[in-house]
Point group: C2
Chain length 283, copies 2
């Protein structure tokens, strides 16, 4: 593996190639991005070695597709058309059904591995990229059987070497589960931020009275709309389902308060305290 | 100031006396708690110097009331009855209307200062107490004019010395604002945890797919139901108002998704990104 192309030099793509480069100092990282400022920054920050374009992607041994999920779905078939027969393309998107669907009949389907590294922060762009982001993180791989054996092995070795543990899942199950543990969290956080901002016209009040609890709960409301809008679009049905259940739970909680059923509210909170056990190992 | 009584040796009370003791090594800290295990732990952890009871509170120079807010409302009048004429009682509860109301006509009202230090973690009990919790945190003080001038000065000096900045507010405004920036966050987090736990019968799936974003958003769902149920009860009207607005925002978001109004969703998220500026300085 000598030439790695990274399409999209943001938080995830940038962090991936930083880790890969550390363990494989002889590879050359080629950066492709439609944002020239990001390319310059990535070059200055030594995330990439060279600025490149899609037109030379046929030279790549590995292509990492790390752009918003609507762009991924458009670019992936073109990438597979262009790459050499023994190259591997991986994507890192937060939705997996549409991307798997768009190449299901592609003659080079075996050159593609669909994955979702469960890692990130609320920041974006190459300045947010950093070494070690993927250490002890889960990498969900979908339809692994559709990827060529040797390319599977290559990917497994590479992503294990940067500290990830692999987990295999079909795209439908991935998109359903991730709606609960990731997509819904982002909406609950964005709408919490919206509710408080709307109410508190005087921002100084918010600033003075908000503590670390609010900061933690609203952290994801800093996330990039460019990245998240296409995720919600692609995972629309699952996300709406999670939203309906969340709204129902909130409405029941509100009704319990209105009915002075504070025993019920106590029990709900006590049962939910089980999240302590579930979260151990994530934080 | 020689004798400080701490009623409730949990996270907030324990952390307060740790900080106070550090700056005032000659004071003796007397711990009162109806949980004997907490008292033993607090003694072992050197949070308190002596175990005591309410019956000797007349000897105290300062009494810090740090119990759940329903217990505070019951205990405060008894404490004011019992203390000496030049002693100060402060409470640290997350609601301020009921506590101020219950002593508004008490003959020793001037010996009480109502305050709410905006600090804490999702943990509870004396083991959660730690030095430095209040550094650079806001301490909201209500009805300061009803506290005797010398006792005001004493409190200001003491709480400034442990790193807090004071802010003055009436109890009604406090309870309304804090519902938005603290109480609602707790409910959004508890209901997020509930929604995900209910859906994911197989906890292993949650664990494997959840990342740091979920962990952050659901962190407050680890909070103590013993502490939070009485807060929601006392601040019922304000909390229901915030819940209604939150549920409405979530419902509108869901409808936008159903109508494929992803431009609207993008705009909502982009506008809410302003939270970045608001949060600077809190985290």
């Amino acid at each position: 593996m000598k030439k790695i192309y990274i399409i999209g030099v943001g938080l995830i793509g940038g962090s991936l190639v930083l880790d890969i480069k550390k363990g494989n100092p002889n590879v050359t990282i080629y950066g492709v991005d439609n944002n020239n400022k990001h390319l310059s920054k990535a070059l200055n920050l030594k995330i990439i070695d060279k600025v490149s374009t899609m037109s030379t992607v046929n030279e790549a041994n590995l292509v990492i597709l790390a752009v918003p999920v609507d762009a991924s779905v458009k670019l992936l078939p073109q990438l597979l058309d262009a790459i050499s027969d023994d190259a591997l393309v991986v994507d890192v998107g937060s939705t997996k059904q549409d991307i798997c669907k768009v190449v299901e009949n592609h003659p080079k389907r075996r050159n593609f591995l669909a994955m979702h590294p469960i890692a990130g922060t609320e920041f974006s762009g190459p300045e947010a990229a950093h070494l070690g982001l993927f250490k002890n993180k889960t990498n969900i791989i979908c339809e692994v059987e559709k990827t060529g054996i040797k390319l599977q092995e290559k990917a497994l070795e590479l992503f294990t070497s940067i500290g990830m543990r692999m987990r295999y899942m079909n795209p439908k199950a991935h998109d359903k589960h991730i709606a609960y543990v990731s997509h819904l969290s982002h909406i609950s956080s964005f709408m919490l931020g919206k509710t408080v901002i709307e109410k508190e016209k005087n921002e100084r009040d918010v600033f003075d009275m908000a503590g670390s609890g609010f900061a933690s709960t609203v952290r994801l409301a800093k996330s990039s709309p460019e990245m998240w809008t296409p995720i919600f679009k692609q995972n629309k049905i699952n996300v709406i389902e999670t939203l309906e259940e969340y709204i129902l739970n909130l409405t029941v909680f509100k009704k319990k308060m209105q009915n002075d059923d504070f025993k019920g509210i106590f029990n709900d909170m006590e049962n939910t305290n089980r999240i302590k056990i579930i979260l151990k190992g994530i934080e």
